[in-house]
């Protein structure tokens, strides 16, 4: 019998090695990779996101849970590919030009990945041209732009303009976030969604595929 709940708890506690070993064991016992993903990893990461939102856990706890999730996903990936489990879509994520803050962005990335969306991380200090090129290359459905500085929020706007200019605006949903960003700002620059935390970002991203 697969120990989904135990795996979910290991993820929530950030016990990466123990989790990876248990995932390996579950696979060896014939548990479908998709079930491990959905019944333990996605559930576990969702729980972490909720507790983070409620200030029950904090950045260090979320970071180690994300690290455990990453390690478990690496174990699962070959099996997922083999069993033909397709991601529901593709999201690009980055911190915008001029900005090097990436802790929030990485959390958003892990949470979105946890919902079964493929996430491609373009890193920090990402110019609009790079993002436009990546949308084409990866045929992205969603673009997530993070900005932590008042001076770089404007790069979110520039990126949306560049996406428009490239004729791709109807093709992708744009999500924006980061501490200084507000719903009003998101509306002003014509983004499709804004959320104030990573767990809500993941819910919102998933809702685009509903």
């Amino acid at each position: 019998m697969a120990r989904f709940e135990e795996m979910s708890l290991l993820l929530q506690k950030g016990k990466a090695k123990d989790l990876a070993a248990m995932v390996q064991e579950a696979l060896a016992n014939g548990t479908p990779a998709k079930d491990i993903l959905n019944e333990s990893l996605v559930v576990g990461m969702g729980a972490v996101g909720e507790r983070f939102k409620k200030n029950e856990v904090f950045v260090p706890e979320v970071l180690i849970a994300a690290r455990a999730m990453n390690m478990a996903l690496n174990v699962l990936k070959p099996a997922l590919a083999e069993s033909g489990v397709e991601p529901v879509g593709t999201a690009l994520i980055c911190t915008v030009k001029g900005d090097l803050h990436d802790i929030g962005k990485n959390l958003v990335k892990m949470m979105i990945e946890g919902t079964g969306i493929r996430v491609i991380d373009l890193g920090v200090d990402c110019a609009p041209e790079t993002i436009v090129a990546a949308i084409k290359e990866h045929n992205a459905d969603i673009v997530c732009l993070s900005a932590l500085l008042t001076t770089t929020m404007i790069s979110q706007k520039d990126t949306i303009e560049a996406i428009k200019a490239a004729g791709l605006r109807d093709k992708v949903k744009v999500m924006v976030g980061g501490a200084p960003v507000t719903q009003a700002f998101a509306d002003e620059i014509g983004a499709d969604a804004y959320t104030s935390d990573a767990a809500s970002a993941a819910e919102r991203a998933r809702a685009f595929f509903a």
Binding site: N55, P60, E61, L63, I103, T151, A179, P180
Partner: protein
């Protein structure tokens, strides 16, 4: 001192601020350009990047000399004092312990690049020959010489305690270390903290603060040792971790100072409010809600809570009208900073404030 001939009164009032004595109005640090200011002397490049570039060329005098010219054009009212900022980076303690100082091209700011991933890998011995430490010490000395008692050299914005480790490891790695190797973090923190007094005294002496007193990043003049204390990294961690790592560090720093103000940065750090307010030696709190958040005037409950805990609040972002209209804050426990566009407006404002109380 370019403070004007009421310097003695201003100093006395500042002492009343620390003693929490009523001076007939709230404490006010008001500045304005003089009516006959010289426009050519007003635009002075006051950035980290400039001071860094100067220091690398061995030029410790251009910037304070320009400041000396600039500050002659400014009038100070109430408790405001003229001070020159000679810091080279926000995360300077990180740089003193070997972090790489980098100026961000095209901007005015600089910061400290991390140099390791794990706390155990850090060599936390303070090397007095560290180039930035030397540059800054020399910069403080030269600035104090040029000031010649006309203005203060600002007490540094240290970014000590956990902020130093956060700079040296980067904040995400410090988060991982807190979970993976808490004992190493504690050992590293104790090492860093053990240098606070030495670093403080170094700049205290270099900036001639022993003779003149202290002011700057912490806005109210103190005849002895004062500073801003803070831990920006605390916005990342749980109240339990803050109690374990941050509070004792702040207590240690506070014990070295005669007076201090806590720089409270960001809504995410508010979970630690009660613990910070419980620290006896903190005299005042500067609340910085962060961009995208409402201004401090919208946080009246929080400001009142700080005052209720017996601490003063430093308000830096209200307009003259808002200050004049305020009836909610306890004026005994409030200091307002305000810069006004002209001498006449500043004088009118000061008069109205005197009349109000």
């Amino acid at each position: 001192m370019l403070r004007g001939n009421d310097l003695a009164t201003a100093k006395k009032n500042c002492q009343s601020f620390w003693d929490k004595e009523w001076i007939g109005r709230p404490f006010l640090c008001v500045t304005a350009p003089k009516d006959d200011y010289n426009p050519a002397e007003m635009s002075y490049d006051n950035t980290y990047v400039r001071r860094m570039a100067d220091a690398e060329k061995g030029d410790y005098t251009s910037s304070p000399t320009e400041y000396a010219r600039y500050i002659r054009n400014i009038v100070h009212y109430g408790e405001a004092m003229p001070f020159y900022n000679a810091d080279l980076c926000p995360d300077q303690c990180g740089v003193f312990f070997g972090g790489t100082l980098v100026g961000q091209p095209g901007t005015t700011t600089s910061w400290c690049y991390s140099i390791a991933e794990e706390a155990a890998a850090l060599d936390l011995t303070l090397d007095p020959n560290n180039p930035t430490y030397r540059h800054m010490t020399e910069g403080f000395r030269k600035a104090a010489e040029i000031a010649n008692g006309d203005f203060f050299v600002s007490v540094p914005d240290y970014h000590s305690n956990m902020d130093t480790l956060s700079a040296l490891l980067n904040p995400a790695n410090l988060c991982f270390e807190l979970m993976d190797h808490p004992d190493d973090v504690m050992a590293a923190l104790e090492k860093v903290n053990s240098y606070y007094n030495e670093i403080y005294e170094n700049f205290y002496r270099a900036g001639n603060m022993e003779e003149l007193g202290t002011v700057g990043w912490q806005p109210v003049y103190c005849s002895g040792r004062s500073a801003m204390v803070q831990c920006d990294f605390s916005c990342m961690i749980s109240p339990d971790d803050a109690r374990k790592y941050v509070v004792p560090s702040i207590e240690l720093e506070v014990s070295h100072l005669d007076h201090c103000c806590y720089h409270y940065d960001g809504k995410q750090a508010l979970g630690h409010l009660d613990d910070i307010l419980a620290i006896q030696g903190i005299d005042a709190v500067q609340w910085v809600p962060g961009d995208g958040e409402p201004r401090t005037i919208e946080w009246m409950d929080l400001l009142k809570k700080i005052q209720k805990a017996g601490k003063s609040v430093w308000i830096y972002d209200w307009t003259a009208e808002e200050i004049l209209a305020d009836r909610e804050l306890d004026p005994r426990l409030t200091v307002f900073s305000l810069s006004l566009p002209s001498q006449s407006e500043a004088e009118a404002f000061m008069k109205k404030m005197e009349q109000k109380y």
